[in-house]
């Protein structure tokens, strides 16, 4: 039992970080970032190349993953989303763009890194045994780092100037603009930050589960699930959604192990019922 909880927490921390990036982009720009999973994969491959292949320190690799994705996210916002949002009649158009970008990144990843599953050497060897819990040290490190990033993100949103500006933007874009917040700059920053978070998790998880070019779509789907559970556009919701999904998976895979894919079927069914009762998730703001 403790084992299941420990696994859930470790997984939940990673998931929460993914969901945070997605929800940040949604809150700031009203864009559902279909390419989020692909950004995660890209982050994983950057760490794989630098840490796994070049054998540079893991921290350097993780840093490179973050920077790569931040730059990519910034470019995508500046060159693509900004233009399309300005020029299209219906706001749904950003979805086509996001889906197109997802396909494009999929193609780039496939060309650059191939279809093979890739893994890297363990960052720390050994296994912790405490009572009934068996937890490899690398999972503890990765889980701890994820929690650290989550806390850092929350502190930044709460106490720094850009954090406050982005929260104002998420609250009411027009009001923020009237108050003199440089809306365009912070949209760019927010997108870069959201992409960076995806890249960070990719870099973290490649050390545990490895990475392959095909998992971008499924990761996006999971990110959507978390955001739906917690409520879109809310930091607390993303974190809650991440931990809940991590826990559900951990419990589900143990309890329903024998039935294979049933775990996800049960999660989906539960989600539908839950959304019927709470259409905006746990903490989401009502729409419209």
């Amino acid at each position: 039992m403790e084992q299941v909880v420990a696994n859930g927490l470790y997984l939940g921390a990673q998931y929460a970080l993914i969901a945070l990036g997605l929800t940040l982009i949604f809150a700031l720009m009203n864009v559902l970032n279909f390419a989020h999973g692909q950004m995660y994969v890209l982050g994983g491959f950057v760490t794989y190349e630098i840490y796994g292949q070049l054998r540079w320190p893991f921290v350097v690799a993780l840093f490179a993953s973050a920077i790569t994705l931040a730059v990519l996210g910034g470019l995508i916002e500046r060159l693509l989303f900004r233009t399309v949002i300005r020029r299209s009649v219906r706001e749904e158009s950003t979805m086509l763009l996001a889906a197109g970008i997802a396909y494009f990144l999929d193609a780039v990843i496939l060309l650059l890194f191939g279809e093979k599953q890739r893994g890297v050497p363990k960052i720390v060897p050994g296994v912790l045994r405490a009572g009934d819990i068996i937890m490899p040290y690398d999972r503890i490190v990765v889980g701890g780092l994820a929690v650290l990033f989550i806390v850092g993100f929350i502190l930044m949103m709460q106490y720094t100037r850009p954090g406050r500006a982005m929260r104002a933007l998420a609250q009411d874009r027009i009001a923020a603009q009237l108050m003199g917040v440089p809306v365009e700059f912070y949209s760019l920053l927010g997108f870069a930050l959201g992409a960076m978070l995806a890249g960070l998790v990719g870099g973290l998880l490649v050390t545990i589960t490895g990475v392959n070019s095909g998992i971008g779509g499924p990761i996006s789907l999971k990110a959507f699930l978390m955001v739906m559970i917690g409520g879109a556009g809310v930091v607390g919701g993303a974190i809650a959604g991440g931990f809940i999904l991590g826990m559900l998976e951990s419990v589900g895979l143990t309890v329903l192990h024998a039935y294979g894919d049933i775990t996800y079927l049960v999660i989906f069914a539960a989600l539908l019922i839950f959304l019927a009762i709470r259409p905006n998730g746990l903490m989401g703001k009502p729409w419209g």
């Binding site: 279909f34 219906r90 749904e92 879109a232 989906f268 989600l271």
Partner: protein, 326 residues
């Protein structure tokens, strides 16, 4: 009312689709195009359902679920229950419509990305269900589904059994394109009737619409049921062509593609999804020649298209016409 321009356009469409294209394919000897174009027609039908949801202001990324469901219903009816394909076709559509009403009751209250995300998840649910249920035969799927039989009335054969055709795919080509024509005609009528106006009003402002006495929840269900009917219908015919169905016959990718077809064609026009499907499907097929760069160029062009024409292909207006409208 007599609208000569519209009639002429319809006549051209009918001549091209039912006469010129088959003749051209025959002349060129590229009979594989029958299959390609049948696919386009069927995917366009499924996409038109998604388009209708856009029309009421909902982003439906779950059409793959209903295409899959329609396919399984038809396949099971034909193989296990001995139904004729022709009877299974409307039943598949109606089954999907009924299911969509049940699902729609809770989820149609969601808006924006919430609805989009839930429908996306639905496709995954459909796949997992197909894997898990005994009746769908799990990952092995249902294979060797017989081709559509003959339709006759009073001893007269109206449509011969598809197996008796020398070119089976030509029969499917006609079936698919006739279905597409019928579906789009019906949809065109719908959006240009008062119902279409009510849909647009809902798209623009649901609260105000219900304040005007429009039964918004019921109208949303109606649109979703029609949309899912179209998805199920397309799926059922698709399966008949493929003669087999697997849980992966329609995936999340297909659901996303249906949505993209609508965008690329343009959300402002009923025929947007038809054009969008044609362009995207053929674009994809043509790019097959360049091998590994296929996806890169395809998605790259799609992103560029979005930058140049964010409102879809049908948003292109000749400059003179725009001038005249001002």
């Amino acid at each position: 009312m007599f609208r000569p321009l519209r009639l002429a356009a319809l006549a051209v469409f009918v001549l091209v689709v039912f006469l010129a294209v088959p003749l051209a394919i025959k002349a060129a000897g590229r009979t594989d195009f029958y299959y390609t174009l049948s696919s386009v027609a069927l995917l366009a039908i499924a996409s038109s359902g998604v388009w209708l949801m856009f029309h009421i202001g909902r982003i439906n990324i779950g059409q793959g679920a209903f295409a899959l469901m329609g396919g399984y219903v038809s396949a099971i009816l034909v193989t296990s229950a001995g139904f004729s394909f022709w009877l299974s076709l409307p039943l598949a559509g109606l089954f999907c419509a009924a299911v969509s009403i049940l699902i729609g009751l809770p989820i149609l209250r969601l808006r924006g990305v919430y609805f989009a995300m839930v429908t996306l998840v639905l496709t995954e649910v459909a796949r997992l269900l197909a894997l898990a249920l005994p009746i769908t035969n799990g990952a092995k799927g249902i294979t060797s589904i017989p081709a559509p039989g003959a339709i006759g009335a009073f001893g007269v054969t109206l449509v011969p059994a598809f197996d008796t055709f020398a070119e089976r795919n030509l029969a499917f080509y006609y079936l698919s394109t006739i279905m597409m024509t019928l579906c789009f005609a019906a949809l065109y009528r719908l959006v240009h009737s008062r119902i279409g106006k009510l849909f647009v009003a809902m798209q623009q402002n649901e609260e105000l619409a219900s304040s005007m006495g429009i039964n918004v929840p019921a109208m949303r269900i109606l649109a979703y049921a029609i949309s899912s009917f179209l998805g199920g219908l397309a799926g059922a015919i698709f399966i008949a062509i493929a003669q087999s169905i697997y849980p992966s016959s329609f995936t999340v990718n297909d659901s996303v593609n249906f949505m993209l077809n609508c965008f690329v064609g343009g959300l402002g026009h009923v025929f947007g999804p038809m054009l969008g499907t044609l362009v995207l499907y053929f674009g994809w097929d043509l790019l097959f020649a360049i091998g590994q760069y296929q996806l890169l160029i395809y998605s790259g062009v799609m992103v560029l298209l979005m930058l140049v024409l964010p409102n879809g292909l049908l948003s292109i207006r000749l400059p003179s016409r725009r001038g005249a409208r001002k």
